[in-house]
Each structure stands twice: as structure tokens, then as C-alpha cells.
């Protein structure tokens, strides 16, 4: 019996190589135009940038043209995403919709919603957030208790979601809501996905400032919020069947190993062209890990293109990737201690700024989108252990 997961090498087709150059020159122009500062746009919310990306056809790239997509391959999409992330472009306003919400609507949404919402995601006009976690439902997503109760022409939502990234900037949320109690046989039963307009009456959004001082996540209160029947996504009570597909997209992407890339770039800058053997060895180790993660991530894009649902493989990439990117700042710190060099050519400030930022965001990397413990459970199931 073989328990190995396979990540076949991907030979990027010529159209991917051309596209990569096209994305790079677009980003160069945007940096020159001052749309975002190089290596500093990741946290910036910019719909203007999203619309430019949308106009290029780089949001919803794999979706059918009738819904605003470009019918391009998963590998082409992969190339665009990794170039955006490596350059820390301000993708925040559209990345969730592109990666998760759009594909869910495309797969399970009602036709009218698909026709009206998807083209607006693809044009960069809509920002989405994901309503999963609740005060008493974190890793245990199927314990969600925020209720949707049937009413005339729709549903009434009451309860609370938490740790919702970007809710304060979002136009829509896809929420996982309780429509029936769980059953004895299936503890995942009874939850339903809905599309919720974030501007609906009855919604209150309270910011939660994270430990790095940034406002990313939020707490959301629902008080008799009306959601029309049209916004029901998929089958009532059966969301557990839909959720796992969504995660293959979320879990393997370049954002699962490029979050702290800037600290490595700045270390290389600080090391200069002829570093000590110790520095060179330290840099080499990280580059080997990063390159391997990239191979595996691209391989998953290839599997998606081939119509597979590589759920376990995606968990493997996310577990390896987030552990690596999380521990990277600490290794960089020890390779390049602070110096007293105050010459203008010194790159100490850039390095220290990247180190500070990546050290502060590191704790979340093995928590968001499925904790390390949850991922290892998924991998263990893939190995036949549970």
C-alpha cells in the first residue's frame, strides 16, 4: 500500500510565460504611477487597483465568459496570483472574491445571482468577506449557531460572526448559517450558505484591532437581517457537502507561503553580492524551501486544471508553507543582527522594517483558513489514520 501524495512537476505552457511578463510590466507601471509602493501594498485597500486588474481580465480568470470570466487555465491564474503576491500588490479588495466567493457562487449560486454578481467581481467592483467563525465556533466550523429562519420571500438572520477579515470594506459576505439542528447521524448537518449584502439593515460591524495594530478583522452582529431566497447558495442544510471544494482553492495558493517573503528579499539585499559563507548558507536554505513549496503549489494548480479536487494535497502545501513562512522571520533575525552602520548605503532600515512586520503577523499564519492542527487532521485522514 502506498500512502504518498504526488506532486507532478508542471511545465508551464508558453502562454503562462508570456502572461507572467505581462503581469510584471503592468505592476512595474503601477508602481511607477504611484498606485502602490513596491513591497508595501499588501495591506492597502484599493478598489481603483482592483478595477485595473479586472480590466486586464485577471479576476475570475477561469470562469466562463458569460459570467464575466476569461476562460483561462488554472495555471494562468496561478501565475497572476503569485506575481501579485510576490510584488505585494494591493489585491486585498478582490482576492477573497476571486479565490473563494466567486467559485462558490459559480458552482452553487442561482442563475440570476451568477449573472448579476460574478461580472461585478470580475471587473473588480465587489469586495467579499467570509462569514465562518463565531465566538463559539472556530476550528469547529460545523458548530456554527448564527441562525437563518425562513420567512416570507426569504430568511431572517440573527447572531454573530467574528474574525471576519475585511468585513468593513466588503459589499457582500458568504455566510455559513444554521437552518436546522445537527442530527445524531451527522454533526455537520443543518448548515446552509447564503449570500448577504453587507449594507443590509440590521448588520452592525465592530472593528477588532489585531496585535500588529492593524484593522483587518471584525465582529459582525446580525439583528433580523433579511436575506432574499435568491441569495440562498446551494442546498438547505447541506453546506457541509459544498465547503470542502472551496478549501482546495484556499489552502494551496501562493498566499500560503509568500506572506513573509519580503523579509527574505530584504535579507538578500542587506547581504550584498558577496555575503559570508554563513549568510549564503542561510539564504540558500530558505530559497530551497521556498522553491519547493512553489513547485508543489503550482502542481496543485495543474491538478485543478485536470479537474481533480486535491483536498489533502492542498492541506499538505498549506501546512508546509505556513510553518515555513511563520518561522522564517526568526531565522532571518538571527542571520542578520542589528549593526551600527549608519551609512546611507546601509539597507538595515528596510530589513528591520520587514522583520518587524513579518514577526508581528507570523502568529496568524498557522491559524487563518484552517489551523495547523486541523490541517494535520486532514492529512492524517488522507493517510488512512482516521
Amino acid at each position: 500500500m502506498a500512502y504518498n501524495f504526488h506532486f507532478d512537476p508542471i511545465d508551464m505552457p508558453p502562454e503562462c510565460k508570456e502572461l507572467r511578463q505581462e503581469v510584471r510590466s503592468f505592476l512595474r507601471q503601477e508602481i511607477e504611477a504611484g498606485t502602490f509602493a513596491p513591497n508595501d501594498g499588501k495591506g492597502t485597500f484599493s478598489k481603483a487597483f482592483a478595477r485595473k486588474v479586472g480590466a486586464k481580465g485577471w479576476i475570475g480568470m477561469t470562469w466562463p465568459k458569460e459570467y464575466g470570466g476569461s476562460e483561462r487555465s488554472h495555471l494562468e491564474r496561478y501565475v497572476v496570483i503569485e506575481e501579485m503576491l510576490a510584488h505585494r500588490a494591493p489585491t486585498r479588495s478582490y482576492s477573497t472574491a476571486d479565490r473563494q466567493s466567486g467559485p462558490v457562487i459559480l458552482r452553487y449560486g442561482q442563475e440570476e445571482v451568477k449573472k448579476t454578481i460574478l461580472p461585478k467581481i470580475a471587473s473588480g467592483d465587489l469586495c467579499f468577506c467570509i462569514g465562518l467563525s463565531e465566538p463559539n465556533s472556530g476550528s469547529d466550523v460545523f458548530a456554527a449557531s448564527t441562525r437563518a429562519t425562513k420567512t416570507d420571500g426569504g430568511w431572517l438572520v440573527n447572531g454573530r460572526k467574528i474574525w471576519t477579515s475585511n468585513a468593513h470594506n466588503s459589499d457582500y459576505m458568504i455566510a455559513l448559517l444554521r437552518t436546522s439542528p445537527k442530527t445524531q447521524e451527522n454533526h455537520r448537518h443543518g448548515l446552509t450558505q447564503f449570500l448577504i449584502d453587507c449594507k443590509s439593515p440590521g448588520i452592525t460591524i465592530r472593528p477588532i484591532i489585531n496585535m500588529s495594530g492593524a484593522h483587518d478583522f471584525n465582529e459582525i452582529f446580525f439583528d433580523d437581517v433579511f436575506v432574499p431566497d435568491l441569495h440562498l447558495i446551494g442546498e438547505v442544510d447541506m453546506a457541509w457537502k459544498q465547503a470542502s471544494d472551496e478549501l482546495a482553492y484556499e489552502r494551496s495558493g501562493p498566499d500560503r507561503w509568500l506572506e513573509t517573503f519580503s523579509v527574505l528579499v530584504e535579507l538578500v539585499r542587506r547581504a550584498g553580492a558577496e555575503p559570508s559563507e554563513r549568510l549564503a548558507e542561510g539564504i540558500g536554505r530558505e530559497v530551497a524551501n521556498l522553491a519547493t513549496l512553489r513547485r508543489m503549489s503550482a502542481s496543485i494548480a495543474g491538478m485543478l486544471q485536470a479537474g481533480k479536487t486535491p483536498g489533502t494535497e492542498a492541506a499538505v502545501v498549506k501546512d508546509l508553507g505556513t510553518n515555513w513562512e511563520q518561522s522564517l522571520p526568526n531565522r532571518m533575525r538571527l542571520l542578520a543582527p542589528p549593526t551600527g552602520d549608519s551609512s546611507p548605503e546601509s539597507n538595515d532600515d528596510r530589513f528591520e522594517e520587514a522583520l518587524r512586520h513579518t514577526t508581528l503577523i507570523a502568529p496568524k499564519l498557522t491559524i487563518q483558513g484552517g489551523t495547523r492542527e486541523v490541517l494535520r487532521g486532514i492529512i492524517a485522514r488522507g493517510l488512512g489514520l482516521r
Binding site: M1, A2, Y3, N4, F5, H6, F7, D8, P9, I10, D11, M12, C16, K17, R20, E82, A86, H87, V265, V268, R269, A271, G272, A273, E274, P275, E277, L279, A280, E281, G282, I283, G284, R285, V287, A288, N289, L290, A291, T292, L293, R294, R295, M296, A298, S299, E313, V316, D319, L320, E373, L375, R376, G377, I379, A380, L383, G384, L385, R386
Partner: protein, 351 residues
């Protein structure tokens, strides 16, 4: 890497003729004749020799896939070495002889001189030198690299073993006469070390796949506290971590094999991918073997259990054709020389 008839043949031969006892006997000095003869009869050792030079003329990736299978089986024969020797001889346009071969040098700082057709110098840790009928050497006449073929009985061999119990001998050439020489066309010692490192990376990736299978199976069979230890979350998470390391090793090793097949030795892409592979696979070997042993408990620490066939090889192979630190340093200098803003283009070169 897709399965094909060459790999299937190799896998079948290993399944039939490479038992745990074969491996233990080989460590005690018994040449696994049946295993080697079957391999030779199938033509596998000459996978990388073009048909014009007496070989099978198969793809580079086929040979690497065979080595993956050999690593999975801990095959105690110089299959990698004979493949590498055949490849080296082909670079010098020299016909490959029958029988097991060894290759020298295996380290980048190894240096063997050639004057006329007389070899001079010493090569350390040469795998399977004592079992080889011929040795393929990359030697230098002044600065000119030359491929030389020398009969094993023409050189002095002093025996040594790796920590896996595999022959790692010292060859003293002492003026031995080469039976054939050929221009190496710019191939340097680094080139030998690169293809050798990729061969080892494939074997190691195979050995890692094997210890994952073995560890998962053991955890399902072994009962403690009234249930299979596979049911304990701590054990599950260790095995999940092992599976990640195994997957990373396989991906890295395949990337290097692919680079050699597509871009050849000497290209920038190959130089990067080989360094990445030997380093990343070496890291996975250390972390992976440790988990496999932890899962197996005391049983895995016995000579009787076969786990050490793979884990000892993993530890030994890490050192051959450059270890993690050496490849990391080389890779780090490659990156630094290009500069910070070229790091991302470097990572995406060729794609």
C-alpha cells in the same frame, strides 16, 4: 513522474529479489548476485547509455525514476553508480562495458590527473568500488577535463563502509592505465556532482516514500492502550508532518531530474534545481527518519526490523555528492550575486 515499462520492470525485480535478508547479507559482504544479474539482464544499468554506445538509450527521467524505485527498495547494488558511469562515459563518447561500474570523484574538490593515459591521484568514499569491474573517471590533463575508463583490477582499492553499511572505498590510481579516454567537452567536476546529487536525491525520495508507508502501516497494526497507535492525535500529527516532508522531497527531486532532462548539465536552471533538491531532500531525510523512528518505537531500533535499511541510507546519502550545507552555500551565493530584486525572477526562471 509517470509510471512506465522501465520503472515497472525495475519495481518487479526489486520486489522479487531485494528482500530484507538480501540487504542484510550485502552488508555482511555477500554480493547480491541474483538481484544484480536480473537488473543487468533487463538492461537497466545502461539506461543512460545511447544505443550507439551499447546502451538502452532511454530518457534521463526514466533513469531517475528507476533510481526512485531503487531507493524505495534500499537495493544494495551499484545501480545509481553504473547509470552515472554510463552517462559519464557517453559524455566522452566511450562505449560502456558490461558489469557493475563505479564513478570517481564524488566530491567537487576531488581531483584526479591524467597524463597520456596514466591516471594519478586518490578518490575517497567511492561507492561500490570493490564490486565494480570498471571505474569511470573524470580526470584532468592540466585544465582539460577528460573522461577515462579504467579496469577496477588496475587500481588499488582500500575498503571502507558508509554508516548504512554500503561499500565506500578509497581508490588510489597510482599510474593506472586507462583502457579508453575521451574529451569531456567542458564537463567539470561540478557537473558530475550535480548529476550524482540528483541521482541520490531520487534514491532518498524513494527511501522516504518507503518509510512513510512503513510507518503508516506500523501505526495501524501496533496496538497500545487498547487501540492502534494511529488513533492517537500526537501520532497522527507526526505522520502528517512526515507525509509533508516526503511530498516535498519527491517534488524537489523530480524538479532536479526534470531540469537535467530538459536543460542539461551546465544550465542555470539545472544548477539551481539540483542545489534545491539535494538540500531540501536532505532536510526531509533528517526530519523524516526521526519521525519514522519515533513512530516505530524500540522495534525500529533493532537490527531485526528493516526500518534501518532506509533510515541509515538516508543519513549516509545526505553526505554524498554534497550535503545540505554545501548546496545551501552554493545556492545562497547564486542568489546573492543576482541581488534582492532578482530573487523572484530567479525562483520563477524557466516558468
Amino acid at each position: 513522474m509517470t509510471d512506465n515499462i522501465i520503472v515497472d520492470t525495475a519495481t518487479r525485480i526489486f520486489a522479487d529479489l531485494c528482500e530484507p535478508n538480501t540487504i542484510n547479507d550485502a552488508e555482511k559482504g555477500t554480493w547480491p548476485k541474483a538481484l544484480w544479474d536480473a537488473l543487468e539482464e533487463s538492461g537497466l544499468p545502461l539506461t543512460w547509455v545511447p544505443d550507439t554506445l551499447g546502451g538502452a538509450g532511454a530518457e534521463m527521467t526514466d533513469g531517475f525514476a528507476v533510481l526512485r524505485a531503487a531507493g524505495r527498495a534500499a537495493a544494495p547494488v551499484p545501480l545509481a553508480e553504473t547509470l552515472l558511469a554510463g552517462w559519464l562515459l557517453a559524455q566522452g563518447n566511450i562505449e560502456a562495458p558490461a558489469g557493475p561500474m563505479a564513478i570517481a570523484p564524488i566530491y567537487e574538490d576531488g581531483h584526479i590527473n591524467l597524463a597520456g593515459n596514466k591516471l594519478q591521484g586518490r578518490a575517497r568514499h567511492v561507492p561500490y568500488a570493490r564490486n565494480a569491474q570498471h571505474i569511470a573517471v573524470l580526470a584532468f590533463s592540466g585544465d582539460t577535463p577528460t573522461v577515462a575508463l579504467v579496469a577496477a583490477d588496475a587500481v588499488a582499492i582500500s575498503q571502507g563502509t558508509s554508516l548504512a553499511g554500503e561499500p565506500r572505498d578509497t581508490i588510489t590510481f597510482d599510474g593506472a592505465t586507462a583502457v579508453a579516454v575521451g574529451a569531456a567537452h567542458g564537463l567539470g567536476t561540478l557537473g558530475i556532482v550535480q548529476i550524482g546529487a540528483t541521482a541520490r536525491a531520487q534514491q532518498m525520495a524513494g527511501a522516504l516514500e518507503h518509510i512513510l508507508d512503513q510507518s503508516v502501516q506500523w501505526s495501524l497494526d501496533r496496538v497500545q492502550f487498547g487501540r492502534a497507535i494511529a488513533k492517537f492525535q500526537a501520532v497522527q500529527h507526526n505522520l502528517a508532518t512526515l507525509a509533508g516532508e516526503v511530498a516535498a522531497a519527491g517534488a524537489a527531486a523530480d524538479a532536479a531530474a526534470e531540469a537535467i532532462a530538459v536543460h542539461g548539465i551546465g544550465s542555470d536552471v539545472t544548477s539551481a534545481e539540483v542545489a534545491i533538491a539535494k538540500l531540501r531532500v536532505g532536510e526531509a531525510a533528517g526530519a523524516g527518519a526521526a519521525i519514522a523512528h519515533q513512530v516505530h518505537g524500540a522495534m525500529g531500533f533493532t537490527y531485526e526490523h528493516s526500518l534501518h535499511h532506509a533510515t541509515r541510507r538516508l543519513w549516509a546519502w545526505r553526505e554524498e555528492f554534497g550535503n545540505e550545507a554545501q548546496w545551501a552555500t552554493r545556492l545562497g551565493h547564486m542568489v546573492a550575486a543576482r541581488g534582492a530584486d532578482a530573487l523572484w525572477p530567479f525562483l520563477t526562471q524557466g516558468s
